[in-house]
Amino acid sequence: MATRRSTRHDGEQGVRFSRTLFIALLVLSCALIAFDRPQSRSDAFARFRAGFTDITAPVLELGAQPLRAIKNIGPYFRRQGELAEENARLRQQLIEARYWEDLAYRQRDRIEIYEDALNVDTQAIQDRIGAWTVADPRGPFVRARLIGRGAQSGIEDGYPVINLYGLVGRVYETGRRSARVLLLTDLNSRIPVMADRSNARAILVGDNSPFPRLEYVGRQPDIEPGDRIVSSGDDGILPRGLPVGEAIATRDGGWRVRLYSDQAPIDFVWVWPYRRVTPPDEEAGAGEASLLDPQEVGPATAAPGPDTPEDAGPDTQGGAEGTAAGTAGESEGGERPSGDGAGAAAAADPEEVP
């Protein structure tokens, strides 16, 4: 019995669970929950979060190193028996890839000629920013990854993130040396996509499951199981044609997407510093609008629309909803740059623009 007696020091007896402090912390927690909601997060909170991840990123990077070292142990042992078969398949794919490589070079040359003719400057593939995943929390509230590059490397909110296989998500919280990537599977993720075969448009909606839903596909969508789903670029936030995944039909008649990016663990990713290419008619409209009285032009041209990359907040929902409306041809004046004001400006005589 003697050993069961308390042997604590006098000064340590009892837990110092001060009631006042406890209540104060409860109130503070509730206030934080109320004010740090992803849908309405203020800039100050976003900056604080980004600053915190900047500080912790090196520690997390340190923790990720041993995991990175052992990441391929499982697949290595499993694939030993399939090596010969895989080798033959890869040789075949290499032969096919050479044809596509030639085609890609030809297309690149052609695009350069067109860009010169149209005087547009688009981001090249080589500008992608490579980054390692340093944290990958799989919590019930958010599906996001932390990468070890930030604003110092040229990363900004809204930039698409891809890996070797396809689109992973979008940057939504950028610190100086780190950035958080909202995955396509997250509850708040909304991405405009289309079927590569038929150009049938849809919105890819994350629901925390590994297979995000395809919504707004219409009553008789021209989508078939196995169709390649790519980003449609309708909102201007994402470039067109980024590979997303493969369409799969669900039992209830809906559609989901098996993501290409999930073919392998997301370890190394590229951030694509994509900026929207303004269509020539909008450029002309904006140029003329700047010459007109702002009060006559209206709010659509006086302020950039919500679907420009600069205005893309941490939440993709707002931009995506604008996209859904735009895709369906239901955009309202003042919501998009091509609204009433821009349309009126574009309708004016282009010869008046110096």
């Binding site: 069961r4 604590r8 001060s18 995991l67 019930p140 509230f141």
Partner: protein
């Protein structure tokens, strides 16, 4: 007045407490999905908080529990305050009271931890759903809860064994 050896063991256990809590937080955010097949993550910080609040209650005042929860929120990208609130309430309700603190037998500790875990995850689910303005992922929360409950006995056993081994308690406590 304390002996110098007592003071040094207190410092040692304080350092161990800080180290284990930091390790738990880093593990919670670690990219374990990079390892093939592993994607379930137990709630390591809650285990650390619970064990230390039983073994060394003065190391886990409300402010520390709150800070650990808030750090987890920030590391995992969850809305701030969700885990801070749930840990704070769960530990306040289910912590061991009395002179002896945590019992030296495993079953009552497991039982108490089960209640703490359930309460913490229920609060986190409610608070997270409120913050997200839609239902949080209940399935993942349940998987996380089960993984934590499966992992905890090992850590509890190690902690209690150390505590039983010494008459002075856990690391001289």
């Amino acid at each position: 007045m304390r002996k110098p050896t007592d003071r040094s063991t207190v410092w040692l256990s304080a350092l161990l407490c800080i180290f284990t809590v930091l390790l738990a937080l880093v593990m919670q955010a670690a990219p374990t999905r990079l390892i093939d097949g592993i994607s379930v993550m137990p709630t390591w910080p809650l285990m650390a908080i619970f064990l230390w609040s039983g073994l060394r209650p003065h190391f886990m005042p409300p402010i520390v529990v709150f800070a650990i929860g808030l750090t987890q929120d920030l590391l995992t990208g969850a809305p701030m305050g969700v885990w801070a609130l749930s840990y704070l309430v769960a530990i306040a309700v289910c912590r061991f009271r009395g002179e002896d603190g945590m019992p030296r037998d495993l079953p009552p500790v497991l039982l108490r931890f089960g209640a703490t875990l359930l309460l913490a995850h229920s609060i986190a689910f409610a608070a997270g759903s409120f913050a997200l303005e839609q239902m949080a992922d209940l399935q993942l929360l349940i998987i996380e809860l089960a993984a934590t409950m499966l992992m905890f006995p090992l850590l509890a056993f190690l902690a209690l064994r150390n505590r039983r081994a010494s008459r002075a308690g856990f690391i001289g406590g």
